[in-house]
Symmetry: C2
Subunit: 513 residues, 2 copies
């Protein structure tokens, strides 16, 4: 997330005395799970700095908040990399920028997923990307009839899960999301375990509490058949989409409640894939990207959310809630900042309703800074942040101001669904997830060409081919050190950002493992 | 616009004593142009009822407002139909539903455009669709340098213009828009006459007033070259888009200012095509539709704006401005109306951020009527209106309530641009515009098949072929009277709505005239 938050770290509000913890939903994944714990399958990468895991409130006040935040930053890499302390130091080395992948010798990731990452060229102390790959079992919370559920293994649901989290203004939000977001998704799916396995349409109502009197009264269970004909049909697929959407929101709320803790600093983009009952759900909030490469063709599976792509949403919010602009910003867009000498002239502008441009007479309030400004990677909301969706950022303020930016950011992902059963996939068909470090210097077509080039040099049943592909993509985006910079073969600059890539083979669970 | 406004006429606020006229922009087309005037090229269809042109304020109060509104309704058909009084009566006959087209003998429409229309089967007293087809000359308002412009014919711009307006709750808005919207577009383009003909990028600023001191001072003319490099590039095309967008807004504001006049009743969808300097601009606000049929293939040129397609925009507005819901509506969506006995149960819902569905515990305020409800043609905003963009509707209230619906409606069109010069069009390539009366019973593919079937029976240079095609489409959607209804050959019901169709050949101006 290079240059995506200008001076944001310096303006994070430093937490003083610890406030009482906020209210927590009973279903909410425990924040204690944030603490490093030895997972059963592999040793967790240890914190690089002693004291970074300490929960003691550090000094309050605004003195050097940037340094304070930096010192607090957690420093860990994904568990599945199985890094030794020495390996962790190499992964953290900005000079060498060694590409990291799970070891060949360990347990493979589900589906023989490929993964590779590399640290940035120096824009932040640590790699602020995080990743997660899990198989998650969901036990039903209750039966649809409301009767308390007997624990009966085998009646639950499994989903496969991949997540990329691109942090900014610190690594805390990305790390927290990488550890907890899939648990929020699991919580949201608990109510749906029976429903999703029943081919009939989802019931309109669930009883409020399992086992309460009346909840097993059939008259309370209003199924589609008992309603008037105009009832809207709701699909199983849309329930999973709703579960993922709400999980993102609850994850974001949990970050807000724990924003004074040491680890929840900054914010992160989140790109998540859930495979459940034959379908792939790709949820994106931010500027990471997912594409499917199938038979050499590219199928886009996400769109990026930036100040440019969300200009009209942002402007509309500023127009409807002008108090959010604090008298410092105008919701109107101009091709550049208006200068005082241009008062009274007619300048190009557009408002929240317009896709085209027109001329308007410049008035005093047009001299305020525009809510949305800049183009491409330099586009910013409130001159500060270059992405408009993601998790965290609850403390992000406008530079030299107490104006919060969070109201303009959305934690909701766009979810695209891909039915794996609709097409017979071959071993070369893959879903590629990458943070913007990849996509800033690599087009969709170049990725598709690399998929073809790398996979064709491996046997179709060689499970290491997907990690080799992820490494090739990361290396291709990083480049090699030459002429005082990391450069691509065409001598253009490679990406100086953190780069992380998942390659998910589309043969389905177990096909290539 | 069949069934698109439920009981809306009955809830129009009847105007009492005439308020003072609102402020008017000096550039605004004159409201007096609403009065029927003999155009130079053809006699205007006369009003069918004496007194319908009277401007006297009718009785105030709520006694039978529906009848009052109905009696006021203007009754005219497009000028280019050149209808005699007898022809006008036939066009107004719900029993015969004779298809109307411009006469073969008169002057052809520009580009040999084809047109046909038919009245509804009885859902409203008159045909509430209106149409307009014009060649509009735009004289520049001033030179870019700010010097007063010498009248110099030949330096202006011409645009070709087609508009379809589908009225609801009365014919006034559609009629007003059909007479004035192209004039608003002309006004917006006046500033751009020189700029659009100059291949260099548009200037960032125009002087405020022509001929004022300093306005010809070159230092006030900030061109793109003189600005810092990050200035956003604005294209000529986006200026035309902005001009059309602002013209829609000014048309809507003019309707608001004159809402107590006798002719501005109800609202209308607007589908407008502007051809200017090689490009076709299709602007749509409502549920009419435009498609290009090119070499037998369909290219969609518009999307419909309905409570379903705009659900999230509507819900967000209700969420951010709850006062607009008046304590009567909830911004949440449920698959059907929540019943009091379901309090405490968990029911399917979705909010403004969700595309999927989830369960929530039903609380008291969820018993309010949902802001958006229903599906397909039965979808409604506030249980009242089935389209979410268009012009007018300033007096539209929720049934049995004083809650205004207008804040949820947008007058802004979506504008799609098609470059006519990018492809060598043949005489069978056409742009088809139709009100929902056509599209409710006819798919894009069926229209493409009819294009092929009808045009192949005419010589390519026969200019009457496009009117024959429009007639075939209108007849195909209307059907024939059989079994107590208008029926299609497959015995399904034809459209009982007003149906209007333009066929615009894409050979360019003059090619087939």
């Amino acid at each position: 997330m290079l240059n995506r938050v200008r001076s944001a770290v310096a303006h994070l509000v430093s937490s003083g005395g610890a406030p009482p913890p906020g209210p927590k939903s009973p279903d909410q994944p425990e924040a204690t799970s944030l603490l490093p714990a030895a997972p059963p399958e592999a040793p967790r990468s240890p914190p690089a700095k002693a004291g970074s895991g300490s929960g003691s409130g550090s000094g309050s006040g605004s003195a050097a908040p940037a340094k304070t935040a930096e010192a607090r930053a957690s420093f860990s890499r994904p568990t599945f990399l199985q890094l030794s302390p020495g390996g962790l130091r190499r992964a953290d080395d900005h000079a060498g920028r060694a590409v990291q992948s799970p070891p060949d010798t360990g347990r493979r990731l589900p589906w023989s997923t490929g993964y590779a990452e590399v640290i940035n060229a120096g824009k932040s102390r640590h790699n602020e990307d995080q990743a997660c790959c899990e198989v998650v079992y969901v036990e039903g919370r209750r039966s649809v009839s409301g009767a308390p559920r007997e624990p009966s293994p085998g009646q639950g649901l499994c989903f496969y899960y991949w997540g990329l989290f691109d942090g900014h203004a610190g690594g805390g939000a990305a790390e927290m999301a990488s550890r907890l977001l899939h648990r929020h998704i699991r919580e949201q799916l608990k109510d749906l375990v029976e429903i999703l396995q029943d081919p009939s349409p989802p019931p309109l109502c669930l009883p409020s509490t399992p086992g309460t009197p009346g909840s097993s009264d059939p008259s309370h269970l209003v199924g589609p058949q008992s309603c008037w004909p105009s009832q809207k049909e709701v699909t199983h697929e849309s329930l999973v989409v709703g579960a993922i959407e709400n999980a993102f929101q609850l994850m974001d709320e949990q970050m807000a409640q724990e924003q004074h803790g040491h680890q929840v600093e900054g914010g992160c983009c989140a790109l998540v894939v859930v495979y459940l009952l034959g379908k792939v759900y790709v949820a994106n909030a931010g500027d990471s990207r997912a594409i499917i490469v199938r038979n050499g063709e590219v199928i886009p599976m996400s769109q990026e959310f930036t100040p440019e792509s969300e200009r009209q949403r942002l402007q509309l919010l500023g127009f409807l809630k002008p108090e959010l602009l604090g008298g410092e910003f105008t919701h109107l867009e101009f091709p550049r900042r208006v200068q005082p000498k241009e008062l009274g002239q007619r300048m190009l502008y557009r408002d929240q309703n317009m896709t085209g441009w027109a001329y308007k007479k410049i008035e005093l309030e047009d001299l305020r800074f525009p809510l949305v400004c800049g183009e491409g990677k330099k586009a910013r909301v409130m001159a500060t942040i270059g992405v408009t969706r993601g998790l965290g950022d609850h403390n992000l303020k406008v530079c030299s101001s107490s104006l919060p930016i969070k109201p303009f950011l959305s934690c909701f992902p766009e979810v695209q669904v891909y039915d794996l059963t609709q097409y017979e996939h071959c071993p070369d068909d893959v879903l590629v997830l990458g943070t913007d470090g990849l996509w800033d210097v690599t087009s969709d077509g170049e990725v598709a060409a690399t998929v073809d080039r790398v996979l064709s040099t491996y046997e179709p049943n060689d499970p290491s081919r997907y990690t080799a592909l992820a490494q090739a993509l990361v290396l291709g985006a990083r480049g090699t050190p030459r002429d005082r910079g990391w450069r691509l073969p065409n001598n253009k600059l490679g990406s100086g950002d953190d780069i992380s890539v998942f390659i998910i083979p589309l043969g389905g669970p177990g096909s290539y493992s």
